[in-house]
Amino acid sequence: MKGATMGGGVVPGPSEGSDGRGAAPEEGPAETTGVSLQDRRLRDVGSSQGAMRVTARVLTAERREIARKDGVGKLAVLSGLLSDGTATMRFSWWDPPSVDLERGSVLRVTNPQVRTWRDRPELSFGWKTQVEFASELELPRLEDSELLERHLSELRPGEEGFRVLAKVLLSESRTLTVGERKRVIRSGLLGDSSGRMAFTAWVDLDLPVDSVVEIFGASARPFQGELQVVMDERSRVERRPEVELLSMGGLATERPVEIGWLEERPEGPGRRAIEGVVVELRSPSGLIHRCPHCSRSLVKGFCREHGPSRGEPDLRARLVLDDGTGSVTAQLSRECVENLLGLDLPKAIELARERLDPTAVQELLSERVLTHRLRLLGRAVPGLWGLTFFVDRVLPLTPEATVVEEANRLLRTPDASLREGP
């Protein structure tokens, strides 16, 4: 693909005389259209007028045949996604050459048509369009200054070409087998003054917990209904001193939202903090055993998929947290439960053995949490029985001083009792 002089873009039409050489890019196509030609970034394509040229990388491509409207024969079309780091956009290449378009190739496209499909711009390559293969080097450079400075809550699905300054709140890596290859991916949680958002890095980037980082060239994509910051080979991460985060507004005070508000809008982006009182501890909580095949918790030594098993011991809690405006069933993982209990898993197993009672841990847990206030960070998922809240972290409670301050605020301005947004 290096060199990129092959004139891959065969375009029917008599007026397109260019041989595909990009030696004097301003001349050839400009002559054919008679207007000045401008290099455009994909993110500006939707709003731009006139003749343009974009250089972008093929992310996906698929060849299809479409029956012509007049019923005579079929029309070949190659469609997929293009990205130049500022946006990802759908393209359709009508009557494409027979050569295969590989993922990763770079295309230089002169005079594409811009169409709007479901409020999103798309590129269409027709007989007036000239498509050529280009080299990596010709991809437009994105200067850091061109990347839009974003807060996490400002990101929209599909957005690219931004940079964010955030603190890494959670970070863990795991190995995933994709096809035949093993890759290390890193996932976790970012926070800034606007809120929190999960991230997934498909390459092992430098993202340790509690570090402040600036991330360049990531994209914002929904995963299981939740928007995430997704990083890959094109992304770059730089460590920043903590003060820079402060100058951007610091870390969002993990001000809890009302559960009633979450119940009405469970689909909101990012992670949320909630605070309430534990009014019930649901079984099975405490010490449980998980099926070694599927990690389901065993009921009387029995997995509903894989039958009887000894199982792997684990700690979990399912508790009902209620703040007077609504309630959630909060799911807490081993780490959170260990913190609440003040016991780690081996000690919890020991406790159950000593007391000769498998429910001893659940009993201890209910003494520790029942009727007590908890502040939890996590995400809400709606279900038939109400909201389930998957907990990332147990947060420290509202400080006493804030409680007193709130009392005075309510005394001065009773309207402060109205619900505020998140």
Partner: protein
């Protein structure tokens, strides 16, 4: 490795973009129609002061099997479950050996209410039978309204859980309860002023659950002035706000 690969895999598991504030995502709130065959949402544990609770004189039983009974309050609460934090005193046994029943007096800065625990509430029963009064406690229970022979309504709380509370938990409860009570007070006034039965007619600062229950209570307390509940709420807030207790507790 091609640089595009990562981007593709990052995006491949996507399902749908979240649409914040989309009206279709609104789950039916607490007081859904009772003929709904779908599972009933859990009854939220209302935060209200005993003054509002004991001023209630209306009880409404839902339709259908195992219908929930709600005590309707003058500030627009439809209360089945509730959560109280305050002082328990006068703990005494009432029942006989076969059907044990314990009763205690619960007080908060606005007043007091009777709290009971029977054999169907083993956790609360065990706690009351061993507790040493007076003590600070959190009570989660169900509100009951009993109309006496002279037509005098009496509210009590059948407790589900009772556990000791800390002063910090009490203060947090008072502020939380005051905020939610003031909100219901404002909403009750608004509902009476507008008189509209369309829940959509009220500002979004009020949770849907509250609007629904305020509308249920609309005609139930025609003679009652919501403003008369403001004083006790503010008194409770004052107990948390600026200033320290006049006489410090020597035991702390």
């Amino acid at each position: 490795m091609s640089t595009s690969r990562g981007a593709k895999e990052g995006s491949s598991p996507s399902i749908t973009a979240p649409e914040p504030g989309h009206p279709a995502s609104v789950r039916p709130a607490g007081s859904a129609p009772s003929n709904d065959p779908a599972p009933r949402p859990r009854e939220v544990a209302w935060r209200l002061f005993t003054h509002e609770l004991t001023s209630s004189s209306v009880q409404e039983k839902g339709e259908g099997e195992k219908a929930t009974t709600h005590v309707l309050t003058p500030l627009g609460g439809c209360v089945s479950r509730l959560l109280l934090v305050g002082t328990l005193s006068q703990i005494e046994p009432l029942g006989s050996g076969a059907s044990p029943l314990w009763r205690a007096r619960f007080t908060d800065p606005t007043g007091g209410v009777a709290v009971t625990a029977g054999s169907y509430q083993p956790r609360a029963l065990a706690f009351l039978s061993q507790a040493k009064a007076p003590l600070l406690a959190t009570v989660v229970g169900k509100a009951h309204l009993f109309v006496g022979r002279e037509g005098v309504p009496m509210v009590s709380v059948r407790s589900e859980i009772i556990a000791p509370a800390t002063p910090a938990e009490e203060r947090a409860w008072v502020v939380e309860t005051a905020r939610q009570s003031l909100r219901r007070l404002a909403l009750t006034k608004e509902v009476r002023a507008r008189g509209s039965r369309d829940p959509g007619a009220y500002p979004c600062g009020y949770p849907r659950r509250l609007v629904d229950s305020a509308l249920r209570c609309l005609d139930r307390y025609p003679g009652s002035d919501p403003e008369r509940f403001r004083g006790p709420i503010e008194r409770a807030l004052g107990s948390v706000g600026e200033g320290t207790p006049v006489v410090p507790d020597p035991s702390r």
